[in-house]
Amino acid sequence: MSEAKTVRQDRPTRNPEVWLRQAGSENVAYDPARETVHVLNATAVAIWVLCDGETAPKEMIEAICQLSGLPFEVVEEDVSRILGEFEEAGIISWNG
């Protein structure tokens, strides 16, 4: 399995300063410290909710696979990309 090489073992935590707000049909994460706004799609919002410091990316991927019936590799790519974008935007941190 390739999952062991690519899925991070540590757990992401939401930046507590960042707010999530629904604006019409869109969800936005607002970071007051950086004064930045990030538009999140439904999957990104769900992953954001799961960034509680206790849930590992592998658990997120397995749950999405269970719900959607999509293959692990496909979901893994999406989840890893979204978490990478969250990290780059500074709206999550990682704990071991």
Binding site: Q22, N27, N41, A42, T43, V45, A46, I47, W48, V49, L50, D52, T55, E59, M60, E62, A63, I64, Q66, L67, S68, G69
Partner: protein
């Protein structure tokens, strides 16, 4: 879209309010790819109509009178396997959503949704997608993850038991007393009692009833099946 080239989606409408059913029927009949083949005003009628008409899609209000929508969903999913089920709910309630999916629905939409969204959801559910309100996805995934952790934890606890103790637990889960455990395992009731005490201690439960509930609530009957064979 080429919808007119295909057979229409045959729909059953189940809702306790005739005004809502009528409105849905009128709306769906403006769509060339839908055909309303049945209506029901309560849970029993929904099941009967689903069995009679064998629809492609059932739109079921979760709060149906006379056998709620969840129960009707469960029966329809079992008796009419070709029928996909979209639950209509007044509220975005996580427990209701999970109960709906566990009963066999593959779609969930609130009655407050725009009509276009409801129709789009109906098409997607009929097309084989599992469709839930996006804002409920995070809570649903969190619940799935929590359930898996609970199950994994239960399997770990079960792993502490010896083969004999698993046999005892399987019989406990069936409601057997010491004599009922001793007889099939060809041991004395006193030995059975000792095994029971060990099972309770290893599982970290305080009573036989709690041990039986541990097995049932964690879906471990399959894990134990065959140990007494």
């Amino acid at each position: 879209m080429g919808e007119e080239d295909q057979d229409p989606i045959r729909v059953l409408l189940a809702d306790g309010q005739s005004l809502f059913r009528e409105a849905m029927r009128v709306v769906l009949e403006t769509q060339s790819d839908f055909e309303v083949v049945g209506e029901a005003s309560d849970g029993m009628q929904a099941v009967a109509e689903a069995e009679r008409t064998e629809p492609d899609l059932a739109l079921i209000d979760v709060d149906l009178p006379n056998g709620d929508g969840i129960r009707a969903t469960s029966i329809i999913a079992e008796h009419v396997p070709g029928c996909r089920i979209l639950i209509l709910s007044e509220q975005e309630d996580e427990r209701t959503l999970i109960s709906s999916l566990e009963a066999g629905a593959t779609g969930f939409v609130t009655k407050g949704s725009p009509i276009g969204q409801l129709i789009d959801t109906a098409r997607r559910v009929h097309g084989g997608e599992t469709t839930i309100p996006p804002q409920m996805l995070g809570a649903l995934l969190a619940r799935l993850i929590w359930s898996k952790r609970e199950h994994d934890n239960a399997i770990r606890r079960l792993g502490k038991l010896t083969r004999r103790e698993r046999e005892v637990l399987a019989l406990l889960a069936q409601g057997a007393d010491n004599a009922g455990i001793a007889q099939p395992l060809v041991i004395s009731p006193e030995t059975a009692r000792t095994h029971v005490q060990n099972v309770l201690s290893k599982l970290g439960v305080h009573s036989r009833l709690e041990a039986a509930a541990f097995v049932v609530q964690n879906g471990l009957l399959d894990e134990l099946e065959g140990v007494n064979a």
